[in-house]
């Protein structure tokens, strides 16, 4: 599936407050299409693991208005865990259209310190 990370107003409201639980709630919750959730056996608000060559991350998956095959995640440390940097490019890391494998998981969502430190 393809991951798109982006700004949201809720994420923006926590920009100066990134160690708060509110920031974690907002930035670790991805949006997926109902059909993808069904295909992967996920329940709304259930945990999901995204994996690719850059790393892996556990998120909460929520049903939202998005096309099949796409996942939207607010930008932040959770999105960064699966974003990367291509050599010989224009300096811009890959933040949108990142290929990820998605699976249902029982693992818990890491907090910001666990991701950073």
């Amino acid at each position: 599936m393809k991951l798109i990370s982006g700004r949201t107003i809720e994420q923006g409201m926590h920009l100066e407050d990134k160690t708060s639980s509110g920031y974690k709630d907002v930035c670790s919750c991805c949006i997926m299409n109902r059909k993808d959730m069904f295909r992967l056996g996920l329940s709304d608000q259930g945990n999901v693991k995204l994996k690719n060559k850059f790393g892996e991350v556990v998120l909460k998956a929520c049903i939202g208005e998005i096309d099949v095959g796409l996942i939207f995640l607010p930008l932040g440390p959770w999105a960064n865990a699966v974003t990367g940097h291509e050599k010989e490019n224009d300096g811009m890391p890959l933040f949108k259209g990142i290929c990820v494998d998605v699976e249902k998981t029982d693992e818990k969502i890491k907090n910001v310190e666990e991701l950073i430190l």
């Binding site: 926590h14 208005e65 940097h85 300096g91 910001v112 950073i116």
Partner: protein
């Protein structure tokens, strides 16, 4: 209690109609600001004192000792990266460039992870643009492409584009049409007269198709959009009296990146053969444009400038912060007015954790968790004055309305510069 006017120091809209009630040097109420402005002015954990890492632990330090530690780190590095700058004043940025030159480092700002590709596109084609005031007074067609201003620039539509009454648009919203192009439905697309849902990474193709349709060619279905829709859209653009295309990082971060922007500008240029059309990037941080301006005046280049040979060199993809971190070339970092630990990819973060990091920020950022020297600073625009550039390149003076007692970003950078010169030559600048 006193009511004071401020310029909101959050996003590139730099709204100048925000008022705050100040009581005993504290903001007690905010008027006109959007939810992002209110969150910035009323939340956030402040860093209270300078901190220096000793034996793995951050311990309180005197300001002078922290300046000395920071200067030593920079002087002893062979490739220091000075990154951020987008949430501080032009005056601070100017000092930062002098500091970078002295230590033969690299200065980069958040453009390299947002609108850097826009600047590369602009290098190629120029930018047919105008001020937001002109858009407000004249535009009858607004396009938001790859951006979601309802979330990222909440007052953009109400102050500058869709809703305000303008000199030639007395009825405001009633005389304007809104088109949104995006890969997903957003709160902005829900307000649009026409929402065009495009396949991810296919913006370049759609711009090309629109340019061909403008010239009267028949185009096939492109980017998931039907041929008929593309032809009708090209006519709509042509028939507008004054069109304004605003684009976000949806263009700069996906598909052809800077070529997307180049093609968007080419479309705008083509449209000017038929009508008046302008284009503008939706700049995020309130002074991200200011960094590009000041860097260009002083070095000739807008971001990612390398001074390692004693003169400025520019090559995005080689001298941007992420490039230097990913390649392992950066051996120290000074981070000011931004939070790369929260916004850089994992491999850059891992590289940042291996090198000494100096951070200057009013709030406890995620970068401060991995820093070796931390300076608390005054919030520019509230506790310090200075100049910032709005997204349409209009300079605006930010006001100081609260006395916090914290050093300003400019004072901290100047003190580090003085200390660097002292360490290098045994005298002050």
């Amino acid at each position: 209690m006193e009511r004071k006017n401020i310029i909101c120091p959050f996003c590139g809209c730099l709204c100048d109609d925000v008022y705050v009630d100040v009581e005993e040097d504290k903001i007690v109420q905010i008027f006109n600001g959007c939810i992002l402005c209110k969150a910035k002015l009323s939340s956030g954990e402040r860093v209270k004192e300078a901190l220096v890492r000793v034996d793995g632990e951050l311990v309180p330090s005197s300001y002078e000792d922290a300046v000395e530690s920071a200067a030593k780190i920079l002087v002893e590095s062979s490739m220091p990266v000075l990154y951020g700058w987008s949430n501080t004043s032009c005056e601070t940025i100017s000092q930062g460039i002098r500091l970078t030159e002295k230590i033969r480092g690299v200065i980069d700002n958040t453009s390299s992870v947002c609108h850097g590709p826009s600047l590369l596109g602009i290098h190629e084609t120029g930018l047919p643009t105008c001020t937001l005031g002109e858009v407000k007074n004249r535009s009858d067609l607004i396009i938001y492409w790859g951006c979601n201003p309802v979330h990222a620039h909440p007052r953009h539509m109400s102050r500058y584009t869709l809703m305000p009454r303008g000199y030639f648009r007395r009825n405001g919203l009633m005389e304007r049409e809104l088109i949104v192009v995006d890969v997903r439905s957003t709160d902005t697309s829900k307000l649009a007269d026409q929402f065009i849902k495009i396949e991810p990474g296919c913006d370049y193709e759609l711009f090309s198709a629109l340019r061909a349709a403008l010239r009267g060619h028949t185009v096939p279905d492109v980017a998931g959009i039907k041929s008929k829709t593309i032809t009708e859209l090209s006519l709509k653009l042509k028939n507008a009296k004054f069109g304004a295309l605003f684009f976000g990082v949806g263009l700069t971060m996906s598909g052809a990146k800077h070529r997307n922007v180049e093609n968007a500008i080419a479309l705008t240029r083509d449209l000017n053969q038929f009508t008046r059309f302008v284009i503008m990037p939706m700049r995020g941080h309130y002074n991200v444009d200011g960094v590009n301006q000041v860097l260009t005046w002083q070095t000739g280049y807008p971001y990612g400038v390398d001074f390692s040979r004693g003169f400025p060199r520019y090559n995005p993809g080689e001298y941007c912060a992420n490039d230097l971190l990913a390649s392992g070339s950066a051996d120290s970092a000074l981070i000011i007015a931004s939070d790369p630990a929260a916004h850089f990819p994992r491999e850059s973060l891992e590289a940042l954790k291996k090198i000494p990091v100096i951070s200057i920020d009013p709030f406890k950022s995620l970068t401060s968790l991995i820093s070796d020297v931390i300076f608390p600073s005054a919030i520019t625009g509230i506790e310090a004055s200075g100049t910032a550039y709005r997204m349409d390149c209009v300079p605006i003076t930010l006001r100081k309305v609260v006395d916090s007692g914290y050093k300003t970003d400019k004072e901290i950078i100047s003190d580090i510069l003085n200390k660097v010169v002292e360490l290098q030559h045994g005298s002050k600048v």
